[in-house]
């Protein structure tokens, strides 16, 4: 299948701004799914609220557009009822880690088999550019005109600590790596977290004088480095990208199946 067979063409052109990184995430995700030759009927995409979450409207899978921050809770329900389905949960940084922070850490702790994609553009774009828990110290947003004093989460470290069995990070500049990581994350049995640094030229880029979409992607290129590279040792400020964690631990749905078996055999 070509990637156009996986989208709902009638809703295009999409509603994201010109140069929005979320479109590149959609592009990469479709190519990953295409290369895995997955059927549209075996995929469920569950999203919450925000610019990122609008992605579920554009893909021709089973889709659920749910409550702000609660996508993982709905996704858990879907997965528990039909564990054979492939569940993909794209979220924004605010959706996943502010409003949905608790759902996020507990889904990771349970190791339920789904792919959580965090489209991190470091801002609440849809509501007017308020700072998010991933904006970072010293950044500007419409709600931090005198610089943000909140520190940001390290999504990879947070996911690791919460128990996710697959943790990776990439950017919208590194499209080949994005596709490969998404493929690995979808195939991984367990809770997979993929953080994708994405550009919001409309708010984050403009408020922080990072230039247009291409310049923001250039920033991703110049400020990230493969995990454990020599460049990272020389410049600790570089953001590492690649697969941080990939381990096999008991998966929640299959463990729950065992609980049912134990209860039945009594």
């Amino acid at each position: 299948m070509a990637i156009k067979d996986y989208i709902r063409e009638r809703f295009f052109p999409h509603m994201w701004c010109a140069g929005c990184g979320h479109g590149i995430v959609l592009n990469g995700l479709l190519r990953a799914i295409d290369e895995l030759s997955m059927s549209k009927n075996e995929i469920v995409m569950v999203s919450g609220i925000g610019c990122s979450s609008r992605i579920s409207g554009y893909v021709d899978f089973h889709t659920l557009h749910t409550l702000h921050g609660r996508a993982l809770a709905f996704a858990t329900g879907v997965k528990m009822s039909l564990p054979a389905l492939n569940v993909i949960v794209p979220m924004g940084d605010g959706d996943a880690l502010a409003i949905g922070g608790n759902h996020f850490i507990h889904a990771a702790r349970r190791n339920i088999d789904m792919t959580a994609i965090i489209m991190n553009n470091r801002v609440y774009g849809m509501t007017g550019g308020q700072y998010s828990p991933l904006s970072g110290y010293g950044t500007r947003a419409t709600t931090s005109p005198y610089l943000n004093i909140d520190h940001d989460f390290d999504v990879a470290e947070l996911s690791k600590a919460a128990g996710a069995s697959f943790v990776a990070r990439t950017t919208t500049y590194h499209v080949q790596q994005m596709k490969d990581i998404l493929k690995a994350a979808i195939l991984h049995e367990g809770f997979s977290v993929v953080e994708i640094l994405s550009q919001c030229p409309t708010y984050f880029g403009r408020k922080n004088k990072q230039g247009g979409p291409a310049e923001m992607m250039e920033w991703f290129k110049n400020n990230t480095t493969p995990i454990g590279s020599k460049a990272k040792q020389e410049n600790p400020n570089l953001i590492e990208r690649g697969i941080f964690v990939q381990k096999e631990i008991p998966e929640y749905c299959s463990e729950y199946e065992k609980v049912i078996e134990r209860a039945k055999s009594r």
């Binding site: 990637i3 052109p13 010109a18 140069g19 990469g28 499209v175 291409a214 992607m217 250039e218």
Partner: protein
Amino acid sequence: MGKEKLKQHIIKREWCKGCGICVYFCPKNVLEMDEQEKAVAARPEECICCRLCELRCPDLAVEIIAETAKTEISEPSEV
């Protein structure tokens, strides 16, 4: 496998929002923005089919149609 040769750039003008990402990152300077701020393949003969424009387009507006050039076994190799 032979080298890929460009047949055509398909750029959906109604989907293109003119962000310029494809133009900025094209390694061969094939693309440019026209007077309506839409991407066009101005120098298609320079295209090496790397597909970075297709992969990075946030609007899914670019598609590269390529054909695999036949490897000519009968002819002596160049160099």
